[in-house]
Symmetry: C2
Subunit: 536 residues, 2 copies
């Protein structure tokens, strides 16, 4: 295995362990880095498929991110490629709903999106982290311009309906005060010798200095109302210029109030690996990626094609499908190989002759319930009144998130909020409602945080993923148990069929899972095709 | 005094103290908020100057942000306004150096900026925080589009030349590991009853739960190598898709290594009030604001005008100046009132008949030394090789910062880095060098962090603010001592002259200080003008 295989050989591991034991973690870390070890990515740069057998063909089911990244690479490698897509557009969950779009969910209810020009909501994914190198690479190669996505906004809110009289708190206040109290308590414990057993005296001195700085403590190691703490949490009156300039410090919130409110739960979102700065969004909506892929692949994609049967034999794979615009039509596609990216809840309903291991894996993965609500307002009151520019407010209400647009800052005019990103049982309740009811409910809840809602509301849309006819759920949910039993079976090539998609990855719900799973799958398929070509 | 006067009356303060004592800090905070108290801004929205006496005139010295915001408002209020500006452009320190620009510093050395089209460096201010409402309001009113400025980048570096063998560490690793160790230590101390005297048992349980979440601890409250900690600090091998998908956790850095390296100093920058998300930068460079002001004010600004004498009497203010393109010319301007925004090191050298208090204040404020270096490289290797998109790397080397461009992400081609933002004694050393030497030195130091520097370097510029002919320093530095003695004197109207600028504010070095000081000054000047008009 080469340097980039990602799985360390035992001897290298042993070497590192030895270095760690004898030389401490600094040396350990340096050794890891110089061995090409740290920050290894599963994306290896554009895939290099050489030696494609003449005339070899691949049928791809689904023109989402997985299907289209595979189609793009296989086409470039010389395969004959055809993609069947259920929707009348490319992208799958990579999708932006814009003014003029319509969407019909399972059950038959159709929503007409009445957003103004250039305003949109992403019912599916909405951000691309800096380390999702596959997605970023396709954006670059397809010419999709990106702009920053702001995950964390210090002036957005953390909100508990059961604390602070239901009044939302600014993120900066909760974060600064939690850190300040933690620093003060640890400083106190250190000075009372509670750390003597585990931390050297020299390190204790360094720790105290660092806690003062990091926690915004005063000279006595206390977290109190002062310009020092206000330089984190914000002032009662900000500093300014001239004779009315002197700042007035603000009053920190007590530790008990913060702990009881549980608002500390909201301060770490931006520390998570997938939500760390820098994050990106395509200019004009996430759907720009799917649209660009669709243009690139052109006639390779056949839209409005509903797969009804997948059958393989020793020579090829045959897929029966129906044109959704002409119900009852029976059409057929055939190829040497098949890459199937159909989401599992749909795939489980399609007859397909694969072995019991893959069949069991397909049946083993439930899909997450999620609902996203887009609300257009007559003005960007969150910017104008509340000085919130982008980012996310977190609440314990069923809407869970309010996402502010990360574009068009300070532009005035109308704006579209993500009025709810609803999960779990709350999502199931919202899914049971009509789209109009979902919008109304999101408005009701959101009004507790932004009282401007009723006055400024214009129109809205709501996508409940369990009612999506092309996924029947938001993304595959694995447990460590189901992973151990079924994951490899789901990914292994079964005869001439291989699955790909975020459900065949360790980054469920992220587009990078779709990309890396597709590239891994076609890499293996390519080897099979070469082997089969050689023996043919 | 009205609700927005900003200075609380004693009775309101007493009320709040009483609430605080009797009802705890939650009630206190709510009371503060409902009294219109929390997050009071010194910027009150567009200034409303009514009743301008007919024919009243103001001479403004300096077309920087303070001078031009004042000119804009006074012109709109009906004053006759003239602005004298030393440079041949508007903006002052609000300034972007672009390809084709030239800049001559004190001592006579001229730099030709050879950056490519659309690339620039901001020698002065480079970011506008969300709460700098005055600056944001002018950007909006002048039609200057803004884009996000990324202060924090989890994949940028923290670097100490004396730790980790000089190898830069990723921000995410130091931040996650510092938090993890702090959480583990406080958790341990709590469970060993070290907090019993100050924290209730119930709060201790809540604290332990919060520390596990916030610190990414495992079930035993330890911070160890695991997927949980890697979800903060990054993985050894990131999760991906397909059969090579399984993530490999990374190894945290030990507490001793982090404390000794002092890299913890770099993790709080984005928590500071002026550097919290959301921050903005004008599209195309900070100088776009000054340029827009310049266009707006048009012929009201007389460029290339070097003030040589300021004289007031009971009727008016007379200013002698020279056209810098025709040395020796003696020109004169006169008005009823004078708003002087000339930086203090320059102003201190200009004869001006003001009282001893203002004269002493002008002499009391030294200016910070700072040097900014802009480096153009043949490719954006920080993005392509190191996956750093925007934000700042911090180092203990004299260059102190490397700032990555927050625009043109993923665009390929050339790019300009802020190759150093140098302070204090290091800045003095850099100021003593020729511009070429500064650039070379910044390259040398930066190569320790980015080894691509020598290979990829294209060209550079370096602005040493103590050699700036229009400021002779970066910004005014106040101590609590000099503030107590001189600040009010600096801001008070002296006869018919009043000073404004960031030096006359509590937010030194920030453009918002210039704006709020200018608005405060002209508000008071306006009252004087009305009073004088009434008695005339």
């Amino acid at each position: 295995m080469g340097k980039n295989s990602g799985v360390p050989s035992p001897s290298r591991r042993d070497l590192l362990r030895m270095i760690g034991v004898t030389a401490g973690s600094t040396a350990m870390y340096q050794a890891m880095s110089s061995l090409g070890f740290a920050a290894d990515s599963p994306y290896r740069g554009p895939i290099d498929l050489q030696g494609t057998p003449k005339g070899a063909s691949v049928l791809i089911l689904g023109a989402g991110i997985a299907g289209m990244s595979a189609a793009y690479e296989l086409r470039n490698a010389g395969y004959q490629v055809q993609v069947l897509e259920y929707n009348d557009r490319a992208g799958g969950r990579n999708w932006s709903l814009r003014g003029g779009d319509s969407y019909t969910e399972l059950g038959g209810l159709t929503q007409q999106c009445r957003f103004d020009k250039d305003l949109y909501i992403n019912p599916g994914p909405w951000r691309i982290p800096y380390h999702h190198r596959g997605m970023l690479s396709y954006c670059r190669r397809l010419g999709v311009p990106l702009e920053p996505f702001l995950q964390v906004n210090y002036n957005a809110y953390l909100h508990s309906s059961r604390a602070f009289g239901g009044k939302p708190q600014r993120y900066r206040e909760i974060k600064a005060d939690y850190q300040g109290h933690v620093a003060e308590l640890l400083s106190k414990a250190t000075r009372q010798n509670a750390l003597d057993a585990s931390v050297s005296k020299e390190d204790q001195e360094r720790l105290l200095e660092s806690l003062r700085n990091w926690g915004a403590l005063d000279k006595t190691n206390a977290y109190i109302s002062s310009n020092t703490s206000s330089e984190r949490r914000g002032y009662q009156k900000d500093p300014g210029g001239g004779l009315t300039a002197r700042p007035i410090p603000s009053e920190p919130i007590g530790l008990t109030d913060i702990l009881e409110s549980r608002l500390w739960q909201g301060i770490s979102a931006g520390d998570m690996f997938d939500m760390q700065t820098a994050l990106f969004q395509p200019v004009g909506g996430m759907g720009r990626v799917g649209e660009a892929f669709g243009r690139e692949l052109g006639p390779l994609i056949r839209y409005n094609s509903k797969v009804t049967d997948i059958h393989q034999d020793n020579q090829s794979v045959s897929v029966a499908y129906e044109d959704t615009r002409k119900p009852g039509t029976k059409l057929q596609a055939r190829a040497d190989w098949c890459l199937c990216t159909i989401p599992l809840p749909i795939l489980a309903q399609i007859p397909m002759n694969v072995g019991p291991a893959l069949a069991a894996a397909i049946a083993a993965v439930p899909y997450a319930s999620a609902v996203k609500v887009g609300l257009q307002f007559k003005r960007r009151f969150w910017e104008e009144d509340e000085h919130i520019f982008g980012g996310i407010t977190y609440t314990d209400l069923p809407i869970a998130n309010i996402g502010y647009p990360n574009t068009g800052f300070h532009s005035g005019g109308k704006g579209v909020l993500l009025g709810g990103y609803i999960w779990g049982t709350n999502a199931m309740e919202f899914t049971a409602m009509t789209p109009d009811e979902r919008v109304r409910k999101a408005l009701d809840y959101g009004s507790q945080i932004h009282p401007q809602y009723p006055q400024e509301f214009d129109n809205g849309v709501a996508v409940a993923w369990h009612r999506s006819p092309f996924t029947m759920g938001c993304f595959g949910m694995w447990t460590s148990d189901t992973r151990a039993k079924h994951y490899d079976d789901l990914c292994e090539i079964d005869g001439r069929i291989v699955l790909a998609g975020e459900h065949a990855s360790y980054i469920g719900g992220w587009q990078e899972g779709a990309v890396t799973s597709a590239l891994d799958a076609i890499g293996r398929l390519h080897q099979r095709a070469i082997a089969a070509g050689a023996t043919a």
